[in-house]
Amino acid sequence: MSQEELQPNLHTPSNDPIISCLGGDISLLMDAVYAGLHKGSIRVCKAQRTNGVGEQLMAYVCDRSLTPRHLIEAKYSKINNPHLLKLVATDVVDWPEEGRKYVYFYSGSYQKALSVEAASALGWKPDEVMNGVVNPIVSALTELRNKDIVHGEIWTGNMLVDSVASSKQIILGDCLSLPHSYNLPFIYEPVGRALADPIGRGAGDISDDLYAFGVSLAMILRTSDPMQGASKGEIITHKIEKGTYSTLIGKDRFNGAILELLRGLLYDDPVQRWTLDDILEWRDGRRLSPKQSTKRVTSSRPILFNDKKYNRPELLAKDLHEKPTSVSYLVENEDLAQWIDRAIEDKTIKVRVEQLFKNLELIDRNHFYNDQLTAMLGVTLYPEAPISYKNNHFHLGGFGKMLTHAYLMEKDIQPFTEILKGGFILQIIQNMKMNPILSTLRSRFDAARTLLSQALLGSGLERCLYLLNPESHCLSPILESYYVRSPEEMMNIFEMLCEGNSNITLFDRHTVSFLSVKDRKNIDAYLPDLRAPESHRRVLGQMRVLAAIQKRGNLKGFPNIANWLASNLNQVYAQFHDNVKKEKLKNAVNDFKTEGNLSKISALFDDPKLYQSDMNNFYQAMRYYKQLEKEKLEIKTRIAKNQVGFETGNQIASLISLVIAMFIVVISIYTNFTG
């Protein structure tokens, strides 16, 4: 994205169905929608370029409560593949009655998707599938892999078809406007991710994309849905017990190469699942040797929980959250230990459960105990399962966006604070297989736990929101009607807010937390000043933060912000004793504020000697004042005692009389001797 494209587009709400975007380059037609492509709360509207031939565009209008995938936007925009929607621009538009919304503009105009039904049976022939679906998706996935992007929304509802073109090749639709795989129907997700809430699924990896690709192929190829009418729980249970292939394909029979691909992609074990390289080899005609299949663990006798019998740890883990109060009973009466020990002959599960029992000793037996135990036991029995805590099912990577969503939708965030404050989440992470992503998440959760217990500016829940969801826009009340994603954008909005408004409060808990997360190196040094009880320190801190952002981003001048700062500097001037210095500073600030150079204004107050010399000179002046008073008192006393000039007068008199006497003596001597 160019710098200009990142600038907020400031439209005023109106009833005009056409919204002018990107400085008039693009017209968004609000009422012209691609009804068949809507993704839940994401509207897809028609748009077109206003210059040239009027290129047709598709505008995906984001939902404010669902954080788009901003972090991969720049990488995605560089992709130029005929089987992926081409991202041409992004903008923030003022949507009537709904506030500012983020919009992705893709080139092209596609009226419909293959099938908007989550579970479909299209019954395509293998040849058609090869040309129309497999080749385009493999090409798109290769491109995405090269850019280190996981699509996250590969399913028939996001496979766009060009109704005008003669070829039946699909194009993969948008994957940026929603959190990773938020709109992906659960059936397209591997079991572990399918169990999580859509918002809490977190970022997946390419094997999840390949799994979704496999499920999509099954949907397109099969002629009937063997699980028609089945609930989500039933389908997932079937997937766990019989495997994905059996669940999706049922009695359909496929032959030849496509069967190999289907089986390869629908392995439930991600280790066995085909990789993109495997697909490329398969497409080149090489036949791959089937990988060793690992059997899912089944117990020799069932365990009873919530009046149901369970033969598999995964199924038990899936249902534990249904009755957390029974979980502690299950653990404490040693039913579970005996079941794991005697009925399940799997040492890895046994080791994990033993570790859990050890960790339980470290958990407080407070009123969250049952929920915490449920969450811990769930991931112990089935490590791929999401963490289930009080009806919130999430993977660690999805927690941040889930929290942001709950915060924006004004849902109860108590469970989230309990999760962050409780040490159990860190213990769960500790027992997971470490990788760089998990290590980052662990440090974030660890930091969030500390920050949540602090009430200081730049910490607390607000900081956790941005720390755990780095893609979130700033949720400050003063920026509510804007969509601020970066400190630079925030400066532009501040500049607008400060116009003729010197009393506005720019730095609140949200803005400070947002800036601190986005630009930690530049901002955290000034956090003590921003938190200071003295107003002059706060103003100086704010000025330094704003100047640091302007300098780092090499941004244009901000005369309105400079004016706002200048009008708030009275408390800072009051810190100087020297009125002359104050006047000089005021004049210098007034000179710089017109050009909006915050760095120059900040530099005026940055010299520590400025304050030290002022204080030293003040005390020197005090001493001089005292000296003058003493001198005055002495003179007054001398006048009062009539002593002024007394001694000098006497001395002069002596001198005069001595001269006269001398003269008389000389005259006497002279007259006597001259007769």
Partner: protein, 190 residues
């Protein structure tokens, strides 16, 4: 060490006092001898210089400037007579004649009076001038104080209690000093 030093200085003072008194006795002794040797001039001198003696008693200043003024004029009044006695064939007769003549005393004491007059005029004249100068100095000081107050604020007068950064705490220093004998919280660097 300090005790030793003070002892030494005390000893020095004692010895200098003794030295002075010895010197004084010696001078007095010499004067007595000289007076006996030249009794003709000495009698006129001692009688004539009586106003200087009075001035010496009256003059409480350390420098004895008044005594010097009166003494110089008094001596100037005596000197022509003394000169005549020293140049006379019979100094004793001339000395007696002078002492007999009231004009001599009038002239000599008149000269001493002139000394008094010179002293009075000089002191009163010069102190009037000095008072005016002192008043000008007070005005200049007030002006400087005002300039300081304008530049640094009223707090520069040191009458208010200041915090560690030199800003008023809102308390009056005089009241605080009256209320307790604690030191002022003003932390002016030494």
């Amino acid at each position: 060490m300090s005790n030793k030093k003070s002892n030494k200085t005390q000893k020095k003072r004692k010895s200098s006092k003794i030295g002075l008194s010895i010197r004084f006795i010696l001078i007095a002794f010499m004067l007595v001898i000289v007076s006996f040797l030249f009794w003709e001039s000495a009698s006129l001198f001692w009688i004539g210089m009586l106003p200087t003696g009075v001035a010496w008693i009256i003059d409480r200043s350390r420098q004895k400037s008044k005594t010097l003024t009166v003494g110089a004029m008094n001596f100037a009044g005596c000197f022509p007579y003394l000169m005549s006695i020293w140049m006379a064939f019979d100094p004793a007769v001339l000395s007696a004649r002078y002492l007999d003549d009231p004009l001599t005393i009038i002239v000599i004491y008149g000269a001493a009076f002139v000394g008094y007059v010179i002293n009075y005029l000089s002191v009163s004249g010069f102190s009037a001038y000095a008072v005016q100068r002192a008043k000008d100095q007070i005005l200049k000081i007030d002006k400087e104080k005002k300039a300081l107050e304008q530049r640094w604020g009223k707090k520069v007068n040191g009458k208010t209690v200041l915090d560690e950064k030199g800003f008023p705490t809102g308390k009056d220093k005089t009241i605080e000093e009256d209320n307790d004998d604690e030191e002022s919280t003003s932390k002016a660097p030494a």
